[in-house]
């Protein structure tokens, strides 16, 4: 008889948060799994949060630059 994997409240909440912050465009989608693991383990640092935000800003800026370049062409 295999043991049923129990989900903890922490893990459930972590998944909800990870989904919401990605959907809000604050954290890159590519970082969702990493963020989820850190939320569950409680190891997300101030630097991690800042990095996610900066990556998303950079990605947004790159995207808008590309869009502008395409529009100019």
């Amino acid at each position: 008889m295999t043991a049923k994997v129990k989900t903890t409240p922490n893990a459930t909440l972590a998944a909800l948060i990870a989904d919401e912050v990605v959907q809000s465009g604050l954290v890159p989608t590519a970082k969702r799994e990493e963020l989820l693991a850190k939320l569950i383990a409680g190891t997300a640092t101030a630097e991690d949060w800042r990095l996610y935000v900066e990556l998303e800003i950079a990605a947004s800026e790159a995207e808008s630059s590309n869009a502008k370049a395409n529009a100019d062409q």
């Binding site: 008889m1 049923k4 903890t8 409240p9 922490n10 409680g42 800003i57």
Partner: protein
Amino acid sequence: MPKPMLINKLSMHCFRGASQPVDLAFDITKPLVMIFGENGTGKSTIIDAIDLLVNEQIGSIADRSSATVAKHGPTIGKKPADVSVEVASGTQQWKGMLTGSRAAVTGPAPRPTVHVLRRSRLRRLIEAEPAERYKALAKFIDVQGVEASENALAAAVATLNSSLTAAIQQKQQSDDGLAELWNAEGKPGSTAIAWGRQKSKQDVSTLQAGVTLLNSVLGHTATAAAQDVQYQTAVTARRSAQQTVDAVKAEIAVLPGLAPEQAVQLIGMLESANAIISTPGQPEKCPVCEQPKDLKQLKSSLDSQLAGMRTLRDIQKRLSTAEATLAGAVQNVNSSSSTLLVSFERLAKVLQATPPSPVAALGIAWSTHATDDAGRKPDTTAAEASAAIAQLAATVAALQADRDAHTKDLNQHNAIRQHCQRIDEADELVRTSDEVLKRLRRLLDIVRDRRLRFTQGVLDAVAAEANRLYGEIHPDENIGLGSLRLDTAKRGSLHQDGHFNGHTDVPPQAYFSDSHLDTLGFCVWLALAKREDPADAILVIDDVFTSVDAPHLTRIIDLLAVECTSFCQVIVTTHYRNWRDRYRVSHGPGNNVQLIELQRWTLLRGISPRTSTLAIDDLATAITATSFDRQIICSRAGILLEAILDGLSLQYRCSIARTRDGDYTLGELMDGCTKLFKTLTIRRPKAGDSSGATEDIAMKPLLNSVGSLAFVRNQVGCHFNLAGSDISDADICRFGDDTVALVRAVTCTECGDMCRRKKGTFFECTCGKTQMTPLMI
């Protein structure tokens, strides 16, 4: 999907009350196991055994003072090594042992999930301190990992906010500093920052070089001046020494007689002769002329001559000293002269290229006083150097003034440059970090809001479920649990509020009665157990409803009958016979309950369980038994009928003549229910039909049938009655069969319960499969 783990067997020996080996077999087809036993029959021992095997604890001992596992876990007079406890779930088995003060269990993992509720823990959640209450609920609301990450996020926001605030403050300070400098300069240009940026770009290397040159000149000038002072001092000393020598020589020149050298020789001879004459044992004749001599007179003459000549000797000594001093002074002059010339040459080297204007005005050709490019040394004398230094000393104040002015200009330039740099840095930081800060704040809002909503959502759900259950037990009583809420100011702290007769936010423990607190504790415990994978969990409730009165207990029994279907197994112990009897006489879903009865306990006999059967099954068995017992059949049928009709008459408020003690005879009950049975109809699924078709059963014929033979109950089943002997076995059998038919008709074939729950236009049974109409007569 893994099957839930139910307990199907428990075996004990030498454990607590199990002084003899005892096995309990649990019917896993029944969701509820009821273990009835009067006080001291071993109910808690059974619960302790289960607790030991799945949770490795013996709660009833833990809850009592002066009781230890090692000493009081084994049956009295036995040792821990004698204890044997086993529980089986399917093919899996767990064995428990007592090793010293601890319980040890062997067996496969995982073990069944069992929630044990005892009387001593019933109010633990309700009466606990907020911190203890939080611990009890922690596994449902503990989100430490997310909280730690949230704290890190908050720290990121705070740090960046501080940096930005500091940068803005610094920018403001630099703006103010720059404005001050700008004002001091008369506000040139359009704005302070424009002026500052322009000034920052200016080349200050010339200014820098000027300050460096002036510092160097002043330094070398000071050094040379100090050397010059030493030189002058040496020259003065030499002059003085020369004068001293000249004076002594002058003294010698005026002395008459022998030349000084000759006088010194003569002094030496006379002193030697004086020494000889003074020595005892000298001859009385002169060894040269052999004339007699008067030694005393000779010595006196020598002393007189020597005294006159010593003055000359002293002067000679002074002359030697003065000449030595003069030689030293000359050496000093030479040495200090060399040092002076070296430092003067260095000074000249610094000044030869571009002397500062006060120095240039002196008109001194500094290049002539420095080694040239070909390596030729200058022939400057110390006197010339000294003179030049004296001229230079007059310009020192002007040089210092120039240097200070240049330094001030340089400092101002640096200050302007620094202010502009800080302003630019602050602007850059704000530009890059402002957006980051905004997003971090939004992230923090999301994380925090989600966490609070999640945890409060869990608490609200627990409170709502607890309240729902509580409402089932205490309908229309205007009392209940208000809310469970986290203390936002203090981590790990959980508050509860109750409502009582229209007042909210009251602590339940202040206003609720003991039994209300007990039932509230039970409801909260049950609500929590339902959150934790109930389909895989076993509930074990150890005789906790001791404070509850009969009407409330009835509702608890009905509640458990419904709630037990949420769990894979529920085991309840009780000393309340009424509860057991309700199931036995179909006033509850008896088909879903396994009834175990514990008989009287003695140390010799130990725990003695036996299976109780439903009254309807007992009657059916008696009717078909090989040994046909008329009295038993009539007695059982009569009791069962009374129970059924009593329940129906209460439910429908049938008209029956009142009695003082509330007991009614079978005849009275049947008469009272006659009107009811005219319209009483049971609707249930057709047996053997899976299409969902139902059948309606009119109860009147069944009552008529049993009523026609009801007299046999008294005559055969109750009292000594000769007339009863005339009643045939067939009639008794028919009476029994008719009773069985009536009871089976009015109870659900699935759950075994009567239809007691009002639902819309009918009553329904516990499982909802059987309905009864009308709602009233």
